[in-house]
């Protein structure tokens, strides 16, 4: 009896994850075509191009050895990122609620931290052609400062990701813990059942504020404009991802869509109380939440420039304060 339940859950879990994954590959395309391009009054790419076709195309490209001091580790990082996101998704499905160690907020926060640390490592391990290695004679007689240490543009990006770890992702974590104040438990199971009993946390004052903070945190962790300083086109180009080619680039592409989806679902679990499962029509609600997030993110990013520290710090500070407010309100 027990065994069949486990097997059934595992099969259900796999189906859920696969369905989620398939939907997630559409998200970058939806953002690009239906939000950005439409706001910019143009036609834009087909929906499938950015999220599905581009990764498949990269699979068939030559697997160039990245220029990196530790190519093996560098290439492993996107795979790790992908599995981190996958684990987060698994953790928030109802099938994982039986394993308390996985389906608790602490585990999710831990996993997100791993994701962020990967960015730092990627940045410091990538040595692309676009800056120091460009064959250009610029250290010649008459040039300024001939003996400085030289940094690759990805190094700056790594430094920025490090900063982001220390304070950038704070709002997201605060928002994650806001529902805890209502449910008085860090286990997703309790949070979900509390909301099923008392109505969605989103519709309380604290929940509303926390949702805004969550959204800001969502954009920060996805490095979307205006919070894309770690891959700002105006100096570091693509930052941590510079050297990925072929398969690894395609994993990078896929992971991004997947993370967009997973975070959206995470929100619907924590704030509305509906865990994703294909065997219940509520999954439609999950998908709607995900789409709303993508839509809003698209709109915001289409109308904002990239923020530098001067704007970033106040924004993060303000959303952190909001997050604290939400938690205090929740505790009252």
């Amino acid at each position: 009896m027990f065994e069949t339940t486990v097997i059934n859950s595992i099969i259900a879990l796999i189906i859920t994850v696969v369905v989620c994954f398939l939907i997630s590959t559409l998200l970058p395309g939806i953002e690009r075509k239906y939000v950005h391009a439409r706001i910019q009054q143009r036609i834009g790419p087909p929906v499938t191009s950015p999220g599905i076709m581009a990764p498949i195309k990269f699979l068939f490209k030559e697997n160039i050895e990245p220029s990196s001091p530790v190519p093996g580790l560098y290439k492993a990082l996107p795979v790790i990122c992908f599995f981190v996101v996958l684990s987060i998704l698994i953790a928030i499905t109802p099938y994982a609620f039986a394993i308390p160690a996985l389906s608790s907020l602490v585990a999710i926060v831990g996993l997100l931290k791993v994701e962020e640390i990967c960015y730092v490592l990627m940045g410091s391990l990538s040595k692309s052609i676009m800056s120091v290695r460009m064959p250009f004679p610029d250290r010649v007689k008459g040039a300024a400062h001939l003996n400085t240490t030289r940094s690759f543009i990805e190094d700056i990006s790594a430094k920025r990701s490090l900063r982001m770890i220390t304070y950038g992702s704070f709002p997201l974590y605060l928002a994650l813990f806001a529902p805890v104040t209502a449910a008085r438990s860090i286990f997703l199971n309790d949070i979900v059942s509390y909301q099923q009993a008392h109505g969605p946390f989103l519709f309380t004052v604290a929940g509303g504020i926390a949702a805004i903070v969550f959204f800001i945190g969502y954009m920060i962790i996805l490095n979307e404009y205006p919070f894309s300083i770690i891959k700002a086109k105006c100096d570091v180009i693509e930052g941590p991802y510079m050297e990925y080619a072929s398969k690894y680039r395609s994993i990078v592409f896929i992971t991004r869509g997947f993370l967009m989806f997973t975070l959206g679902v995470l929100f619907s679990v924590l704030f509305i109380g509906i865990p994703p499962t294909v065997f219940s029509p509520t999954i439609l609600l999950n998908i709607v939440v995900v789409l709303i997030f993508v839509l809003m993110m698209g709109i915001f990013s289409a109308f904002t420039p990239v923020f530098t520290n001067r704007q970033l710090l106040p924004t993060i500070l303000a959303s952190t304060l909001l997050g604290i407010l939400a938690i205090v309100l929740g505790l009252l």
Partner: protein, 163 residues
């Protein structure tokens, strides 16, 4: 902050329409069709009706981008000149230096719209018969230069290399 809110409210409606109904699209659909069928329009480079077929443009072209293609039915322009060829520019060789345009007698002698242009000759209203009867001022040495250009393809090259 207040202005920002105002912009956001005003923009909300417009952008709602844009996102959900693809309103105000400005992409050029004609061009889209042309590119999809790989039939992008090209501009006319030579006004074949006004050209007198003197081949001067082909001779001055520094990259030999101009080839004179023979006409099926030559036309008589004056008593001693029959137009039997018109120029054709090979775009892959043309460097858009305007030498041909500047040499063309319709432009350089009569000061009219030249009959050849490396990008687009535009709409012409040049009447050659009228032009040919018009007097024009041209100095002796310039005439010499022109006649050498017309007779020899290598003149420009040599004079550039210091004669």
């Amino acid at each position: 902050m207040k202005s920002m809110l105002q912009v956001a409210l005003e923009g909300a409606f417009t952008n709602f329409k844009r996102i959900f109904f693809a309103a105000d699209r400005v992409t050029d659909m004609d061009l889209r069709n042309q590119i999809a069928t790989l039939s992008v329009e090209v501009d006319d480079r030579v006004d074949e009706s006004a050209c007198i077929g003197c081949a001067g443009c082909a001779n001055v072209c520094p990259t030999n981008a101009i080839e004179m293609k023979p006409l099926a039915n030559p036309t008589k322009i004056t008593d001693d000149w029959v137009k039997d060829q018109v120029p054709e520019i090979n775009l892959e060789k043309c460097i858009v230096c305007y030498y041909c345009h500047d040499f063309c007698p319709i432009y350089s002698l009569y000061g009219q719209k030249g009959t050849i242009h490396p990008s687009c000759v535009g709409d012409q209203e040049v009447n050659i018969d009228e032009l040919m009867t018009q007097p024009f001022k041209i100095s002796e040495d310039k005439l010499k230069v022109i006649s050498t250009y017309l007779s020899d393809k290598t003149v420009l090259k040599n004079s550039e290399d210091g004669e």
